[in-house]
Symmetry: C2
Subunit: 242 residues, 2 copies
Amino acid sequence: MQGPLIETLVTKLTHVNSLDDEDLRTLRDLPLKIRRLGAQEVVVAYGTRPTESCLVGEGFAFRSKTTVDGRRQILSLHIPGEVPDLQSLHLHVMDHDLMTLTPCLLGFIAHDDLRRLIGVRPSLALALWRETLIDSAIFREWLLNVASRPAISRMSHLFVEMYKRLEAIGHASGGAFELPITQQQLGECLGLTPVHVNRVLQELRQRGLVRVLRESFHLLDLDQLEQLAGYDATYLHLAPSL
Amino acid sequence: MQGPLIETLVTKLTHVNSLDDEDLRTLRDLPLKIRRLGAQEVVVAYGTRPTESCLVGEGFAFRSKTTVDGRRQILSLHIPGEVPDLQSLHLHVMDHDLMTLTPCLLGFIAHDDLRRLIGVRPSLALALWRETLIDSAIFREWLLNVASRPAISRMSHLFVEMYKRLEAIGHASGGAFELPITQQQLGECLGLTPVHVNRVLQELRQRGLVRVLRESFHLLDLDQLEQLAGYDATYLHLAPSL
DNA sequence: CGAGTGGTTGATATCTTTCAACCCACGTGG
DNA sequence: CCACGTGGGTTGAAAGATATCAACCACTCG
């Protein structure tokens, strides 16, 4: 028994994959090195060769790349139960950074242990592979979002996505969720300037679609937001599929 | 012996992974359903549930998503030796389209056969997983590209990337490669209007950086293009890593 | 020869950025 | 306890990048 940290991963994986008792046992036996990090700290840096991957237990993390002229792009936001750098298990050098957005509780899993696990439990290997594929599907949608939608739709899209993902792990309901993110960082997600983020946010507020307090978002009219975003949740692959 | 089609995959996989003779034999024994398609044909459509994945043997393919208001975004370009819809092995419903860019020779591999293969040959499973992870890494770079670089760098980036990838499979050298793509489609890759693509292309020509003839691109000054693009090839994970 | 596709051009509109303030809440040190 | 420094948010004016619209051109194909 590892405490609640590994359980975030267990629930995430069982949500969509069919795992048997032995799978679950193996998963729960995985040695975790637990660490707490503050906000805005580097977890795994670009260019390094990690020997472990990192499970988000509490808090939010993000992956980012920086362009030569110093412009940072946030590639993905990560919520509890996710392993943002699972790819480093097979892609040996990091092509981006992994950082905490907020203070985080993290569980580090040695690659050796992961390799052992996927060798012994094919269904877990599949489940983990699948997670990296969903990760990929989200990148595709972000690409579409950033490349082809106007700022207001783009931002709505991000809000709706985060809502659905957080809802799926029980961290959001009634249109509300916590996400302590600055307008600057929002801009880095969306490829927008902080000032423009500010203005688009105002527009969204004025239209009565969202309410933002310090750390929490309230989506006041999810239907209209989804429509504005051109939202189609297929890409999240949340349904048990099959 | 399957003919040269499967060999494109063999060379691709052996390039970076260490596979033993038995791996290669199993790979070569994979039953392939060979089909030729014309340009601009749908290979696998959004929303469908494929039971096979498709190896590109000759020609170019691309994946795309379309926004509600009809704007199409090309998510990735695919060259011989790649399996653009490998993800459908584990993600059962297609969240985007797969289409041919040019006339293509394709080899379809049944998911059942793939599942058998990854069950029997863990090293092949790993190699395939790894391919999907590189796919993902390219999405990340495209996201950065489209979100944070000005049009001219963005386009340069695409050209350099295609050059390096084609070079790696022996389809490019001396700065030149074939890629029969229209300016319209280029725009769909980059999130730009066809007219703007045209203008940026002119700029690139005037600066003496590229020459474009009907179907072929000549990168006249790779160094300068890479600099203009802020290019860093890490994300392609072409080196045998380790 | 005519139609169609892809490429090119110019003028104008729109979106987003840039720059430069200013404000406010908060925390820290004097 | 107040002063001040800082980070994040907000605002206005102006500049810049890209889109839009509307032609026109060049080739290819039937």
